[in-house]
């Protein structure tokens, strides 16, 4: 029970803390003030609480698949925002008077959405056990451990990306964001398949034999690179397509910044 709650909460917290740590490290690299983080965290937490209260009504939308569709939309939005962020970084830094503020808005919106989604999942999970006090204490302890591990990994990634040279920071930061964004896109596709909005297909491969998704490593990889043990062709093509797109823009971003410096 404790281990399960550690894994579940770790997965959600890690996704959000990755977004926050990489974006705030890149803020430092690009010379943007980090005031936006506090506000977007607050917005995200408020969003998570609000979403939890409204989840009963939201679930009834679209013939009962409202929750899946809303989650998928949020993840799609995060993907698009990360794409936009990478695109803005790729712009000539000398001509960025307009995009300076826009880039902060994009980062704040990404973190707010990420925290709303992941926070909501954790709240719903904890709420499910709140009636059974002995179990709830176990679940809560596990959740605290999972959250602390997730935040610690996020903090380490932040220090790692910040400590690198300008060029390597950009490469590592944008690379990690590309992986997270592609993972989000693939999850969005999976949710839309579950909601019957996209056709369901046979899995393209099954790697659950040597790396089950439910294992700790599987869950960590799920959060880091969107690992799926049994992805469908649609999911895989969206994942790799999204990843390729972001990586291409990231390469332009690194080159344009290098030339500018």
């Amino acid at each position: 029970m404790l281990l399960t709650s550690v894994v579940i909460v770790l997965r959600e917290v890690l996704e959000a803390s990755l977004l926050i740590s990489v974006l705030s490290a890149l803020s430092g690299v690009l010379g943007i003030h980090r005031r936006w983080i506090g506000w977007s965290l607050l917005f995200g937490l408020a969003g998570a609480v609000g979403y939890s209260f409204g989840v009963a009504a939201i679930s009834d939308w679209f013939d009962g698949v409202g929750q899946e569709v809303t989650s998928a939309v949020m993840q799609l939005l995060i993907f698009l925002l990360l794409l936009m962020f990478t695109f803005l970084v790729a712009q000539d830094p000398g001509k960025q008077r307009f995009s300076g503020k826009l880039i902060v808005l994009v980062m704040a919106a990404t973190v707010s959405l990420g925290v709303t989604r992941e926070g909501f999942e954790i709240l719903v999970y904890l709420y499910g056990f709140s009636a059974d006090l002995p179990r709830f204490i176990t679940i809560l302890s596990g959740s605290v451990i999972g959250a602390c591990i997730g935040i610690s990994i996020g903090a380490l990634i932040y220090y790692l990306v910040s400590a690198l040279s300008y060029r390597l920071s950009l490469i590592a930061g944008l690379g990690l964001l590309a992986l997270v964004a592609a993972g989000m896109l693939s999850q969005a596709v999976l949710l839309l398949i579950q909601a019957d909005w996209l056709p369901s297909q046979f899995p393209l491969w099954d790697s659950s034999g040597w790396l089950p998704e439910s294992s700790v490593t599987g869950q960590l990889l799920y959060a880091l690179i969107g690992y799926e043990a049994t992805p469908t062709a649609l999911q895989a093509s969206f994942y790799f397509g999204g990843l390729l797109l972001l990586l291409i823009v990231a390469v332009f971003a690194v080159r344009s910044r290098e030339q500018a410096s």
Partner: protein, 432 residues
């Protein structure tokens, strides 16, 4: 970072401990099941008629089989066998729960005893026991984190104070850092920094003394040179090429020496300014009168606009500033050109502006033209004017002395440079 690494290692080791403790406790529960099964198999006499049903707690269940017949069972088990009656442990489902069972086979008596324990209750129990050992780690870590944060913050305070002390110093302040009440670890840094500051101060002093002493010493021979040249000129035909060249070179040397002396006299860390109330407009007028001949010789139209403007300043320094700006404008404006000087007051302060119609300075050189001996376009300026590149360095010294800022831009003429010196604070001004 330290806290993140600590959290990771402590929590991951706590999880590892939890897993191994969980396995240990499960083993303990298993061995308990085995003992109970063996006990049941031994104690039952097997002679009772029919099935004896015993009520026990919900957590446990048992069945005792004699051959193919059940003769003893707990009330929460069915009449059928709850496991496949093979010796050993099994996980089975009955009574809407999942159970862990152990079957003891006594071949001599042809008897099988099956004991069962509900897995969910057993897990809760096991977790409760283990959580008691994990909980202190979860609770104490934030406290430990807070303590580390406070202690590290306290430990780094002297370093932060030292950094703040150095940051708050003026650039020319090269006094040693106080060595009292400093931690031992910092003493070495402070001693080395003080050594460096002392060496730096000595070298600055040497440089200043050398330049001003040299300039001072050169004044006399230059004056002598000029007298000899004057005498020589009487014996040579007027306009002799070599003589003209020589006179120009001696004049240049003379003005360079004067400029170097002015630069050192007006350096903010050297100059003992005597501030008093001055009418800037009148001061500019006087400087223009004294240097008007230069403009007249080159047929440059000189224009002064403004009104009586009172400000607090040093007479000698301000005269030098205006003179240098005017000399520069005169030097770089071609014959027949324009120079406009204005004194005005606005919300930013008192502004002295000198505009010329010379070739101007490219924007990328704006910052560097205040450097000593820097001349836009190299030693031989495009204008062909010979100079030493100290004029604007002196202007900056005097502006700094008065807390004024200097702004450069293109002049309002077709070409040329506009230099504005903005002095803060107004003590009073009147109409023209």
């Amino acid at each position: 970072m330290l806290l993140a690494i600590m959290t990771l290692t402590v929590f991951l080791s706590a999880l590892h401990g939890y897993r191994s403790s969980m396995a240990e406790v499960q083993q303990l529960f298993d061995s308990e099941l085995l003992d109970k099964a063996r006990l049941l198999a031994i104690t039952g006499n097997g002679r009772s008629v029919g099935v004896e049903v015993v009520s026990i707690s919900d957590q446990y269940a048992f069945q005792v089989w004699q051959g193919d017949e059940i003769f003893q069972r707990s009330s929460n088990t069915p009449l059928t066998a709850i496991s496949n009656l093979d010796e050993g442990y099994q996980d089975v489902n009955f009574g809407r729960h999942r159970w862990r069972t152990y079957t003891w086979v006594d071949l001599a008596r042809n008897r099988r005893a099956v004991t069962a324990e509900r897995i969910d209750i057993r897990n809760v129990l096991a977790e409760r026991i283990i959580l008691k050992s994990v909980m202190p780690v979860i609770v104490t870590l934030p406290v430990a984190g807070l303590l580390i944060w406070l202690i590290v913050g306290y430990g780094l305070a002297p370093l932060r104070n030292l950094a703040a002390h150095l940051r708050s110093r003026r650039a020319e302040d090269l006094r040693p850092i106080p060595e009292t009440r400093q931690p031992l670890e910092l003493m070495q840094v402070i001693t080395s920094t003080n050594d460096l500051l002392a060496r730096l101060e000595a070298s600055f002093l040497r440089e200043r003394r050398f330049a001003s002493d040299a300039a001072h010493e050169l004044r006399t021979p230059i004056s002598a040179l000029k007298v000899h040249l004057h005498n020589m000129s009487k014996n040579l035909p007027a306009g002799d090429h070599d003589l003209v060249q020589l006179e120009a070179a001696v004049d240049r040397m003379g003005s360079l020496v004067e400029q170097i002396l002015a630069l050192h006299r007006t350096a903010p860390d050297q100059y003992m300014a005597r501030f008093r109330e001055i009418d800037l407009y009148q001061l500019v007028q006087q400087v223009i009168i004294s240097s008007y001949s230069g403009f007249e010789q080159r047929d440059i139209q000189l224009e002064l606009t403004g009104a009586r403007t009172l400000m607090s300043g040093d007479q000698f320094a301000l005269e030098t500033l205006v003179k240098n700006l005017l000399d520069n404008a005169c030097k770089y404006t071609p014959a027949g050109g324009h120079v406009r000087v204005s004194v005005a007051t606005d919300s930013a302060g008192i502004m002295l502006q000198v505009e010329d119609s010379g070739p101007g300075v490219p924007e990328e050189h704006y910052e560097r033209i205040f450097d000593r001996f820097y001349r836009a376009g190299g030693d031989r300026h495009q204008s062909g004017v010979v100079g030493c590149g100290l004029g604007l360095a002196i202007v900056r010294h005097i502006a700094d002395l008065h807390g004024a800022s200097i702004h450069l831009k293109k002049s309002s003429f077709e070409s040329g440079l506009s230099v504005s010196v903005v002095f803060p604070g107004i003590t009073g001004n009147e109409g023209e």
